[in-house]
Structures are given as C-alpha cells and as structure tokens.
C-alpha cells in the first residue's frame, strides 16, 4: 500500500525531536512509526502518523520544514524469511532501496520502503503476492 510519510528537517540540537513529539501530542496525533536519519548538522525525522494532514498543519504552524514523502507499506509477517522474500522481489526487478524501516500495526508487521519508483515497487510486490 502506498502511504504518505512525514519528513521533518531538524537541526542537530538537543530538544528538537522532543519539540516535534510535543507538537503532535498536543494535536492529539498518534505516531505509528518513526525513524531518524542523521547527517553532520541536521537530521530528517521521518514519521507515519494517525492524521497526516493534521500533523503537517500543526508542524508547519510551528515553523518547521515539513514535506510529505511517498513510501510503500508492505506486509512483512513476523516469521523467518519474510524480509528476504520482499528484498528478493525488489532485487529481481533491479529496484534499489533508498531506506526502509519496520513497524508493527496491530498484529501485522509492516515494512516501510522508500525507493525512487514507488509505483514499480508496488507493482512488483503485488505480482509476487506480497503488499
């Protein structure tokens, strides 16, 4: 399933991540998955939330640089070999992964995948009976 991830640009300063979490908490928005990618001076805080639109409004209002990024959420059952299966499909189609992380949604384990061509990635996984 193609979903929208929120990416927030943050300087590497103590308390910046806390600030984002607080804004979302005050807007009563649930964070379902997150991941922080870091560079020298800044990082990108990536989030999957319960109310994407509301989160973007709240974060922008606080003056933060926020963008939406299209990612793929694929089912990745909590059993040995599930991840291999997904990655084999992508490798077979020469799709390279920019980054990925996982989260548990209810009972189901989900893999969040970011690639240059999300549509192709989704098609490949559907054809293989995943996604």
């Amino acid at each position: 399933m193609i979903i929208q991830q929120i990416s927030v640009f943050l300087e590497n300063r103590a308390g910046r991540t806390a600030e984002v979490a607080k804004i979302l908490a005050e807007a009563n928005i649930d964070i379902q998955a997150y991941n922080i990618a870091e560079s020298n001076d800044f990082g990108v805080f990536r989030l999957i939330v319960s109310d994407t639109e509301g989160a973007v409004i709240a974060l922008k209002k606080a003056g933060l640089a926020v963008v939406l990024t299209t990612v793929l959420s694929a089912s990745c059952p909590n059993t040995p070999g599930s991840l291999t299966k997904i990655l084999d499909v992508l490798a077979g189609k020469s799709i390279s992964v920019d980054y990925m992380y996982s989260y548990i949604h209810g009972d189901a384990n989900q893999a969040i995948i970011r690639t240059k061509d999300i549509e192709a990635c989704q098609a490949a996984l559907i054809a293989a009976g995943i996604a």
Binding site: S7, F9, S39, F42, V44, R46, V67
Partner: protein, 432 residues
C-alpha cells in the same frame, strides 16, 4: 524626476567654483569654532587662508570615528547650543554612541539630499512613502521622513517593526515607496509572500540603505516586491541618509557633492586615489554648520566615477560599497567581506539570502562557519541532495573568496531577521 536641476545638473566648472567657495567658508568656520580643528591644522602648519580652492582639501587633516567618541558629546559642534535644533546619535556597539548636532540650515540641507534621492527613484508629491526605518536617535527614520515631506509626498511613518501592521497599512493606504534597511525589506518581502499579498501591495520604488547590500539582493528585492530598488546612502556623521542616492540608471550612487565633497583615499597612506580605483570614501561637509566634518573617513570601501550620467546629472557617482574597512575579516590570512558571502548566496537559487558567519580559532587555525537557510521548497526527505547543495556553496565560496568554509544548513527562519541593521558575524577569536 530631478528634484533640483540647478544643482544636480550644474556644469563641472560651476560646481568646482561652488565647492571651492564653500570649502573656504566651512574651513574658516571649523577652525574658528572647533578647538580640535584649530589644533590639528596648527600642528600641520595649515591656516584657513591657505585653503583657496577645492584642490587645497588635501592639506586638511582627517577626522575619524574615534574623534567623535573622544570629543563626545558636543565638543565638535561649531555653533552655540542655541543654534542647534536637533540631535541624533548612532548606535554605539562599544561604549558611548556618537552624537551629531544640526542647525535649522543643516536639517534643511539634509532633507534636500533625501528629497533628491526619492525623486531620482521616481517619487513625487503623488506618492505615499512608507518610512520603515526606525524613528528616534537613528537618523534613518526622521531623515527619510523630512526628505519625503520636502518632496511633498505623503509620509506613512510606520517606523521599524510590527511587521503585520506594516503590511496591512502598506496595502490599505497603497504605499508606493518604501524606505528601510535592505535586510528588513527582505524580511517584509518574505512576510508579504507568506500572507499571499504580493498583488495587493502597490509599491513602485524602494530606498534601501544604512548597511551595505549587493546586486544579488537588489534583484531579489525587485522580484519579490515588484519594485525598483535604489541605494540610499548616508551616515550620521555627515548628516544621515541622503548623502547620495541612485537614479533610474541604477549605475552608481550619485553623491550630492555640492553639499558633501567626496574623496577616495588609500586607507594605509591617506593619499587621494583617482576615479575607478577602490579605496576608502572620505567626506567633507561643505555646507553644514552645526558639526562641520573635514575629511571624515567613512571606512566604506568604494570608487568614484566623475563621468556624466545618462540621467543628465553631473554630480559624481560612487560604485557599490564593497564593505567597510572595519567589517573586513581576515580569516587564515585572507580578506573576507561578509557581503561577498551574501552575493554568492543570492546567486544560488536554492538558498535564501540570510546567513550568519562565526569565526573562531581552534588549535591555532581559524575556523570559518556559515549558517544558511534553504528556500522552503529545497528542504526535503533527501539528505544526500541537501548535503550536495551545501557542497555546491562551499565550492562557490572557495572559488570566489579563496578559503573553505564549513556550511551548516539550519532550519527555515532560524537565522535572526533584523528590523534595523543586520548583524551577520560573530568573531570569537581572542587577539592579544
């Protein structure tokens, strides 16, 4: 429009005559009434009678900012206190400010200078000029105010700050002219853009000064505000804004040299330099009586052009101010002007013009760090792309300035926007 064609377009020959007459009078006035000038001229063996024409100006001693501090607050005044009608004071970053005193005649001349600048930038009595320079001791607000009044325009004296109200009044009263610092103009432009009011604002001309700015910043201000942006040059020591201003040709800042006589000197030797050669700008006030200044060293670096301008004015022009002798940073032995960083930033479309330089010395090596902001649309999920932009900027700075900075991309809006003169540098090095 030319506000005072008789003066602004006078023949160079008549101008020289006028300058010579005025110099003779003002030197005598300074010598007779200001002990510092008497002492300094006596020390050089120069008497007022030795000054017969404008060429004799090189015989006179220089005046510096330090003199204005040392003779604080009014020891350089040349008239009785009863003749003074106005005081201004410049922002002193260290210790006491410098104070300027004006006679009624001085205030008139100052307003004339500003009125010439506003007219040269297309303003007339039909216009509404919003003065967003600070009002008070700073010469910006009241100087621009008096000039716009002299021109017969309607003044909207908003002063600096309270940006939302500035924009509301700008829209509701249809301001056509704007006077403020270029950095505040940029801030206003960003806010106007954010509020989606670009089309509602009817500005035609902007008059920006009190801090050095660049061609890149001009382009940006013109595009963002839909205006023509003109340099409005001046300094408190000489009067205030309106010592000179640009005409519609935007090809150098005309200096009102019938009132303020400019020279360019070699800052090391004090020797006069010819047209086109960069050096320190020096002014002698030819018709200012409250606090006459003989050969005041501005510390601004620029060059002069005496060729007649296409606009018809014969009064000379100066080039862009490259920086100030005292703004110049020496980093790893290389001369760096903050304005160079600004020009480079404005040439790269992915960056905002805002920046902040921090210089320090770690293990005996100078560090050169620059905080910059991206334009909103370039903040992304793609870390590699953002790092590539920072590398691109490093490459440009290395090729233009010659030393390698460390670039820090910071969050949008996190570099402090200034309402008055922008502060762009912190130098933490301790020199003993």
């Amino acid at each position: 429009m030319i506000f005072n064609p008789e003066k602004e377009c006078m023949s160079r020959e008549d101008l020289r005559k006028l300058q010579s007459e005025r110099l003779v009078k003002i030197v005598k006035h300074a010598y007779d009434n200001v002990p510092m000038y008497k002492e300094r001229m006596d020390a050089l063996g120069v008497k007022p009678e030795d000054i017969k024409s404008i060429d004799d100006i090189v015989k006179l001693p220089f005046t510096t900012k330090k003199d204005l501090r040392d003779f604080y607050p009014d020891k350089l005044f040349a008239v009785p206190r009863s003749e003074i009608v106005r005081f201004h004071a410049s922002s002193g970053t260290t210790g006491k400010p410098i104070v300027a005193g004006y006679t009624a005649h001085d205030v008139e001349n100052w307003a004339e200078g500003v009125a010439r600048c506003l007219a040269a930038g297309g303003m007339s009595k039909e216009d509404t000029i919003q003065v967003s320079y600070g009002y008070g001791l700073f010469t910006g607000g009241l100087g621009a105010h008096d000039g716009a009044t002299k021109l017969g325009a309607a003044v909207l004296p908003t002063s600096a700050g309270n940006t939302a109200k500035q924009i509301m009044l700008m829209e509701d009263l249809q301001s056509t002219g704007l006077c403020c610092t270029p950095s505040y103009a940029l801030f206003l432009a960003e806010e106007i853009e954010k509020e989606g009011k670009k089309d509602a604002v009817k500005l035609k001309s902007g008059f920006f000064g009190a801090e050095p700015w660049t061609e890149g910043m001009r382009k940006e201000l013109e595009a963002k505000l839909g205006i023509k942006a003109y340099d409005l040059y001046g300094l408190t020591e000489i009067s205030g804004p309106g010592v000179g201003g640009e005409c519609e040709c935007q090809n150098g800042t005309h200096l009102w040299e019938d009132m303020f006589y400019p020279e360019i000197i070699n800052p090391e030797t004090g020797e006069q330099l010819p047209d086109g050669v960069e050096g320190e700008l020096v002014f002698t006030t030819l018709d200012k009586w409250g606090m006459p200044m003989l050969r005041y060293r501005t510390r601004d670096l620029t060059h002069l052009i005496h060729e007649k301008c296409e606009c018809g004015r014969t009064l000379c022009r100066m080039g862009r101010i490259l920086g100030r002798t005292d703004d110049m940073l020496i980093i790893r032995g290389v001369n760096v002007f903050p304005s160079q960083v600004e020009s480079i930033l404005l040439e790269i479309p992915e960056f905002q013009g805002q920046y902040y330089i921090t210089v320090d010395r770690v293990n005996n090596v100078d560090t050169f760090d620059i905080d910059v902001e991206l334009r909103e649309e370039y903040y992304s999920d793609d870390i590699a792309a953002m790092n590539k932009l920072a590398d691109k900027l490093v490459g440009r700075i290395v090729s233009v300035i010659g030393i390698k900075p460390k670039i820090h991309i910071v969050e949008p809006g996190s570099i402090t926007r200034s309402m008055g003169k922008a502060k762009h540098v912190t130098d933490n090095r301790k020199f003993k």
